[in-house]
Symmetry: C2
């Protein structure tokens, strides 16, 4: 059916919406694809639904191609399954919770691992039933603290989520790789540049995980890549760990008064003057900065801990958050922040500005044997035998040449500092460079976490009950549309990739006579019978300038103008992206467009 | 793509689910279309989604046929628009409410009048933009007190809802009639018998309204019809009002002691003995029963009122609820119940068992001039001049021959008693008969209620701002699937109408040799390339009995058996509904099935 602008439910806007920070948000609203209903919650107008249907169709095809079967779960779900996996607690404020009229607890599902696990448990009993791969394209809910950027970070949004169920790790790896390949094809077909990066599993649990990032300066995720092909989310980069050093001949550490050393640089100068080393001068990288942090567990508990990092690097709380849960023995997301004055006041052994690794000692060389009882984690660069300048746990005093593993110990090692451009890639593929991206997809090898929690076991080849191993895989469907608009626009509007455009052709009739409208009608009918979708600007009293402006704003990649040229027997075909125009003979226009738009 | 039972995510069940009361619920679960996730909340399995997609496609086509444009609104919506129309309060416990992390109030939308009104207000400004008709196929939420019967009354369900916006009443009537005709076509194409009945607007507000009921003994709605073609929801039946009588010559009413008249029948006997009439004997229909009711308003207030009805009829609280709001000047749904002892105790003027229309009088013939201040509504049969036997507001005493309009008045007339089979249809088309049905669709002329509340005005032909008039129209999509299964099954399973079946053909291969599987594969491929959808039971180790049982349970209308006959060059084609089977030559089977299944 030809979409006529004279009746299409659409009003383009000249002005940017007040709340729009990014181009995709501005343009999708202005061009009449979406409208805001509440913070992070959008309504879809007719043109928006056309794009959405195209994106969904591509995803659906590629999922079916890898043998995934479509199902559909409710969004409104009871608490119990999420309690069984502890996510009811772990999600904290991040989900919408509600009660029904009887007072039973429900949530609006942010993701469906539990329900898929229970459904497979309900239906299947044997290894012969596996593998099974299931997917849905469904509305998800997250109570984001800061919904932003239109569809990029919404509170009600559409995801394709799929789940694989396998009998063993090898089969899981196959399901995972099939999904990975399907995702590469999906984004390629959508025309969306994607970089798969190694990621951390986060609240999902599980072992192996990759994010599909769309590189864009407005992305919220920082990732790194090397010339040799390494890519990772910054949270997932592992530090190249230096070799341990022999400390048998290292001199004893010395405690010094360190007046007037307000900065690391002045402290280093002081050390080089007061306790110079034979082999090389002290640098900022030799200082050990002990940072007091507070971890908020999903249970609501607050643990105060200390992290020791080289003084030349800034602490990166997001990297700490990515793996801290394991150290604390906690499932789920743990939020980490700098300890407050109030936290510090509860630990008088911490001498602010002079905190050492041995937290409550008179003599810091005794090291970790006599701490305040606070957990002490260190950056991976703190290996046995390294010598450090650090606080002496006494006001106004530092210790120089404190040897890791000799003079102090630690409870664990954690990736705690910023990744910098120029750092070595962990696989030796060269120095890292940084970029920003949006997470468009995420694939996880969940392993047996959910199956164990919910009792999903099947009989194996030997008739023994065995726990199923799972993967989960997500694509942000509505987010993909925003990313496409973000990366395909100019200052006049959107420029859709052909595969997702709301129509194949935007046909504009301009002029006062009836001939142009008659010719345009005829062309529209011909194109439609050829299977092309046509957006036809048939508005009689609208100026050519407004019509062209709307066409460029809406962003169908091919704009066809039936106007002045008609008298000479030609129709103009414009490329929205390049702006190039050519005249095509009226009789040949339909065939020309058919070739041009053939997917 | 051929759906293979060897890999299809499906397990049929031998046993009925414990919570299933009706056939559609039992069979949709047992045949693997849906699974319960929570009370009134269901997950859709692959076969279920196929049926759902077909039903949605029919609805979408018919909506587009009447020029309705598809949009999509969020399910999670802020309180404010629903407050503007007072529905936030009026819905009471019937909707799911929640708060976000900032404490802002939200609801899961039960229907979207407010949001569509605001969207049209956002986009349109002139009569030239009208009419506009918009629809969505979307997930709705209602916190039903008693979710039941599987998909028939759920808490999360899919509806097609549409809304029309017109400049005047005449144009609204046209939008309404277009929808009405589209609904008739939709249900005809789905194969679902429907009776459109006159209905009351209920909480929706507005003037004209019709329900599309699917007649079935398990329906929750009672409706009536006459031989002459009248149909109505019982709540909407209007009583044939008798003509007023001249009372100038009527004798004065008499108050009598009425001992030993515990029933209406004994009271009538007493009247005929103590105060006989000249023209005809008193009957139960001449007694006026005054019933004290309590109305709970959406605001939480409780109003005690009295309703006077003929003693031969039972009060019908649902019929009272259908129109009481207007009498009380209340928007929204008002619940009505019999007054409690506690309510009565607060009104000592009400002499239990002897309540008359003049509620606190010594002398009831003084009528309504001196009531207790309680609202007094009467059945439409109480017309001026009618003579009644009723309570005298004194213990142990009744009054005989109390004349309506002479001896007592009333605050209003209300449809308050049961409709009975045999009552006259209000349009004179003969006596009514009663039946039960399920509401499959509902169409409303809303008028200007929502547009006024939300300020939707456009410029009319004269450049004057005028309030838009609206209609709203709903079809229960998931409910339609349940109704189809309910009305199309036998004791072995579902029998889908062809237009909504999950596949065109259910192909069963039976036998141990490879030939049957090869022949079946070949046929499946051929059918698929002809555009037919095939559900193929290719399970190698499953007995023919189980395969046929599953085929009959699943309910594809045509079952094709490649088995024993293959040796003689034939394939069996069975009709699921009639059980009739015929053998078709192998080479001709595909063509035969193409003809058979041609829609």
């Amino acid at each position: 059916m030809v979409l006529r602008l004279s009746t299409l439910f659409l009003r383009t806007l000249r002005d940017d919406p007040a709340d729009a920070e990014v181009a995709s948000h501005r343009l999708l609203v202005r061009a009449g694809y979406i409208r805001r209903a509440a913070p992070g919650i959008y309504s879809w107008l007719p043109l928006g639904l056309k794009v959405l249907a195209k994106v969904e169709a591509v995803i659906r095809e590629e999922m079916e191609e890898i043998g995934a079967q479509e199902v559909h779960f409710p969004a409104l779900l009871p608490k119990e399954p999420y309690e069984a996996t502890n996510r009811w607690t772990e999600y904290g404020d991040g989900i919408f919770r509600l009660q029904d009229r009887k007072g039973a607890d429900y949530l609006l599902a942010p993701t469906h691992e539990e329900m898929f696990t229970l459904l497979v448990k309900d239906l299947y009993t044997s290894y012969k039933d596996l593998p099974v791969r299931l997917f849905q394209i469904q509305t998800k809910y997250r109570d984001e603290a800061r919904p932003r950027a239109g569809l990029l970070r919404g509170r009600e949004f559409i995801m394709k989520d799929s789940y694989s169920f396998d009998i063993d790790d090898e089969a899981l790896e196959e399901s995972y790789q099939l999904h990975r390949a399907a995702y590469v094809r999906i984004f390629e077909r959508l025309g969306l540049e994607i970089i798969p990066v190694t990621a951390t599993a986060g609240a999902m649990g599980g072992s192996k995980s990759e994010e599909f990032l769309h590189p864009t300066p407005i992305g919220e995720d920082t990732f790194v890549r090397s010339a040799g092909g390494y890519t990772a989310n910054v949270e997932a980069v592992s530090t190249v760990v230096p070799a341990a050093l022999d400390f048998t001949t290292a001199p004893a550490a010395e405690v010094h008064d360190t007046p007037d050393t307000p900065t690391i640089s002045t402290l280093v100068d002081h050390a080089n003057a007061a306790a110079p080393r034979d082999d090389r001068a002290w640098t900022a990288a030799d200082t050990l900065k002990n940072v007091v942090l507070a971890a908020r567990l999903p249970t609501g508990e607050r643990e105060i801990l200390v992290v020791g990092v080289p003084g030349d690097r800034a602490v990166d709380l997001k990297r700490i958050e990515a793996t801290i849960a394991g150290h604390l023995g906690s499932g789920g997301e743990v939020a980490v922040e700098t300890a407050t004055e109030e936290d510090l006041a509860k630990h008088p052994g911490l001498v602010k500005g002079y905190i050492g690794p041995g937290l409550s000692l008179e003599d810091p060389v005794l090291g970790a044997d006599a701490t305040t009882g606070l957990r002490y984690l260190v950056d991976p660069r703190v290996v046995s035998g390294t010598a450090w300048i650090t606080g002496a746990n006494q006001p106004g005093r530092h210790v120089f040449g404190l040897i890791a593993g000799r003079d102090f110990g630690w409870d664990g090692t954690i990736e705690a500092v910023e990744v910098r451009e120029g750092d070595e890639a962990p696989d030796g593929s060269g120095p890292l460079i940084a970029a920003r991206g949006i997470e468009m997809g995420h694939i996880f090898q969940l392993g047996r976490k959910y199956a164990e929690a919910l009792g999903l076991k099947v009989l194996d080849r030997n008739g023994k009950l065995t726990t199923v191993t799972m993967g989960s895989y997500g694509v942000g469907v509505t987010r993909a549309i925003a990313a496409l608009a973000e990366s395909n626009h100019d200052d006049r509007g959107i420029i859709w990739p052909r595969n997702v455009a709301p129509a194949d052709v935007h046909l504009v009739a301009t002029g006062k006579g009836t001939e142009v409208y008659e010719a345009a009608e005829k062309l529209a009918a011909e194109l439609e019978s050829d299977g092309l979708t046509v957006l036809y600007d048939d508005r009689p009293k609208v100026s050519p300038g407004v019509k062209f402006g709307d066409a460029e704003l809406i962003g169908v990649p091919t704009i066809v103008v039936v106007g002045r040229g008609l008298a000479e027997g030609v129709i103009e075909v414009r490329d929205r992206r390049t702006g190039e125009a050519q005249n095509v003979a009226v009789d040949e226009t339909a065939a020309f467009l058919r070739r041009l738009t053939a997917h």
